[in-house]
């Protein structure tokens, strides 16, 4: 469903991604790991369409479409979901209303009627249980005054509501305690299906213990330098990124 070919991307003239290749099929979970500054979050931003990042070379195909020609909102409506590392607060806009707007924009894009209030509430109730989110949060303004854990749960709840084809979890595990991590991870697991795919961006093994990725990629200095199965993540956990740096550090200068 996603095919990334030789992507180079720069911000303010500085090249961060230096030729990424990645193929993702429906049903797969891919973990992208790597030390700080290796380009993980840049990759997430490029996929989501952040305009500060300039794609200088390469192509991305998403569900048969040239993704680079789509605006961020079109990508979202096509089925791309980014769970933000730092979810943004939007004062004055209730979470419920926000999700309803998002869902109905997506439905409109696909030629569907907007969900009426009853159907929407029913859907919300169903998904709330799935991700164990407190109902009270949904009447509050989007992420305003939420704890770190609540913000991440809210991201997963939105994922549940919008039913994306491809989800990118951008360091969703950062800032979570063990309990919150377990709830968030189990929410994600419940949302997995043979039709959708997930990219998990993380530093650590602990989220992957729950999610059990099919593939693990190591990103270093803007390139995927190593790919493997979930055992690769365990090796990294054992040996740290230093061995990656030793092995590949010199080649990228």
């Amino acid at each position: 469903m996603l095919s990334i070919q030789n992507i180079h991307a720069a911000i303010e003239g500085k090249e961060i991604l230096k030729g990424i290749n990645l193929d993702i099929q429906p049903g797969e979970v891919h973990a992208i790991m790597g030390p700080n500054g290796s380009g993980k979050s840049t990759l997430a931003s490029v996929l989501a369409g952040r305009e500060e990042y300039e794609v200088t070379e390469g192509s991305i195909e998403f569900l048969g479409k040239n993704m680079l020609e789509l605006s961020p909102e079109e990508r979202a409506r096509e089925g791309l979901f980014l769970a933000f590392q730092y979810p943004v607060e939007i004062p004055g806009v209730s979470t419920t209303n926000f999700i309803k707007s998002a869902l109905n924009e997506k439905r409109k894009y696909h030629g569907l009627e907007p969900l009426d209030a009853v159907a929407f509430l029913k859907l919300m109730k169903e998904k709330m249980q799935l991700v164990e989110i407190d109902k009270a949060l949904l009447t509050r303004s989007v992420n305003e005054g939420f704890s770190g854990g609540e913000k991440k749960k809210n991201e997963i709840f939105q994922m549940a509501m919008l039913e994306p084809k491809l989800t990118i979890l951008d360091e969703t595990d950062s800032g979570l305690d063990i309990d919150a991590l377990r709830i968030v991870a189990s929410g994600v697991n419940k949302l997995r299906s043979k039709d959708n795919a997930i990219i998990v961006i993380t530093h650590y093994q602990r989220l992957l213990d729950y999610l059990q990725p099919d593939f693990v990629h190591v990103l270093y200095k803007g390139r995927i330098v190593k790919s493997g199965t979930k055992e690769l993540a365990l090796t990294l956990e054992d040996q740290g990124y230093d061995y990656i740096k030793e092995e590949f550090g010199a080649t990228t200068i």
Binding site: G49, E51, E73, V88, I90, G92, V93, F98, E105, S141
Partner: protein, 481 residues
């Protein structure tokens, strides 16, 4: 940062959709103002002598006054001799019903989205329409008369209910009150009059729709609402004007009188032509609105959504004279492009145990300037007066300005006055977050702005709130891209 600005820039910059001109025969008086013009207007309206004398007194006072310079707005000097002070759609005969109204005029109203017939049927809102200077249609008059409510144009009121007009006109906003009120008192041409008798709860929303059509004309209407003891009325006011390159002056006066235990709720959606993106044209909206809670437990509530006008200068105020009376002011003022708004309220606490509440939401976009100016005054006998003020500003982009000028004068130690203020900005991160969820920038801005203004919108009557919400979205179209 640069990109953020570009993005914001693009969403501000929409088209004003009420900018058409109606091709209708109009009767006007020569440009300019002098005593004989005042006499001519009075004569055209076949007014009694007391009314003419009142006008002349106001005029004599006005020529000695100077234009106020204190508002936080700038504009070139107004040439008061270059304005047409009276313009009326030509009427061939007295009208008995809407069927006899000029079809061009009816078309205008339909374009404005206020098909009078429709409104009559669907919403049960009684509408008075004022085009340029003259009230052209009032609906539902008969049904209202059955419960003793008088709802008619000011001109009719002067003819048919002179004792009421004479008693109350100028009683809240004296003709000498300020420069524009004095000018209005001299040359006002029409407006709406509303009288709710004792104990009557007005069964429907009353509404006036103002429209400036004629070029170079000013609109000077006066609205007077009197609510007798234990009565209730909710009143709506809407306004639009054609697009023109010149500035046009709108200097209205609104007076509200609420007697013991009466309640008046006055809502405005102001959408005068704001001028184009470069600041050419647009209405100067210099309006004096004031209500008085005469008796105890009276309540006056102003709600306004201000999106139009090149310059807005208005402070709907409440004089809390009766003990236990309540004054409220809920305002959303949105400025875009080069619009300037200096708006707010005055709450004058005179009686004991009086309460007031101010909620002001300013939204600035483009290169506009948006000021809140509010006065809370507690008199020396106003024991236990309470006020709560909330002034929030929302900025779109970094070229606009938001200003807050709160004035507090408390002459009694028991007064409790609270003031809260916040300033926030729609950031690129918020917009991107929305877009990543499939909500495009324009819808995201509308969502955020609507959320910001919610508290005030909730005060508007239903049918108005929907309109107002659309209006906010339209006014910001193109302000972010």
């Amino acid at each position: 940062m640069k990109e953020e600005m570009d993005v914001l820039e693009q969403t501000i910059g929409s088209e004003y959709k009420y900018g058409f001109v109606t091709d209708i025969e109009t009767e006007t008086v020569p440009k300019g103002i002098n005593e004989s013009i005042v006499r001519l207007i009075s004569k055209k309206k076949n007014e009694p002598e007391w009314m003419l004398n009142w006008r002349l007194k106001a005029f004599a006072h006005w020529i000695k006054m100077e234009e106020p310079q204190w508002p936080n707005v700038t504009y070139p000097p107004i040439n008061f001799q270059d304005i047409i002070y009276y313009a009326a759609p030509k009427k061939k005969k007295a009208l008995n019903g809407l069927d006899e109204v000029d079809p061009e005029l009816l078309k205008t109203f339909e374009k404005l989205g206020i098909s009078i017939n429709e409104q009559k049927r669907l919403t049960g809102v009684a509408v008075d329409v004022v085009m340029d200077s003259v009230s052209v249609a009032t609906s539902f008059k008969k049904q209202l008369a059955e419960v003793g409510i008088i709802f008619c144009s000011m001109s009719e009121a002067i003819q048919n209910h002179p004792e009421l007009v004479q008693k109350y006109i100028g009683s809240v906003v004296p003709m000498t009150d300020n420069y524009f009120a004095a000018l209005n008192s001299a040359v006002f041409t029409d407006g709406s009059f509303c009288y709710i008798p004792k104990g009557v709860r007005c069964p429907m929303e009353l509404s006036t729709y103002f429209r400036i059509n004629t070029e170079n004309s000013g609109q000077f209407e006066r609205t007077l609402i009197v609510a007798e003891e234990e009565s209730y009325v909710s009143y709506l006011e809407g306004c639009t004007a054609p697009k023109r390159d010149e500035n046009q002056l709108h200097a209205a006066v609104v007076e509200l009188v609420a007697h013991r235990k009466a309640e008046i709720k006055y809502s405005t959606v102001q959408n005068w032509y704001p001028g184009d993106a470069n600041g050419a044209g647009g209405i100067y909206n210099f309006v004096t609105k004031r209500g008085i809670c005469m008796g105890e437990y009276a309540k006056i509530s102003w709600s306004q959504v201000e999106t139009g006008s090149a310059i807005t200068w208005k402070y709907p105020s409440v004089i809390l004279k009766g003990d236990h009376s309540v004054g409220e002011f809920y305002s959303v003022a949105l400025t875009n492009h080069l619009q300037q708004a200096d708006t707010g309220t005055k709450m004058i606490h005179i009686g004991k145990n009086t309460r007031s509440r101010i909620v002001s939401k300013g939204i600035s976009a483009g290169r506009s300037q948006n000021s809140y100016r509010g006065l809370v005054r507690v008199g020396k006998n106003a024991i236990n007066a309470r006020n709560f003020s909330q002034c929030d500003s929302l900025l779109l982009g970094d070229q606009c300005g938001a200003h807050t000028f709160p004035y507090i004068e408390a002459a009694h130690p028991s007064a409790v006055i609270e003031h809260e203020a916040t300033t926030s900005k729609i950031g690129e991160d918020q917009l991107f977050y929305c877009r990543q969820r499939g909500i495009d920038t324009e819808a995201a801005v509308a969502l955020i702005v609507t959320g910001f203004a919610k508290e005030v919108m909730n005060q508007l009557p239903m049918e108005f709130a929907v309109e107002a919400q659309k209006l906010l979205a339209i006014s910001l179209e193109g302000s972010v891209g």
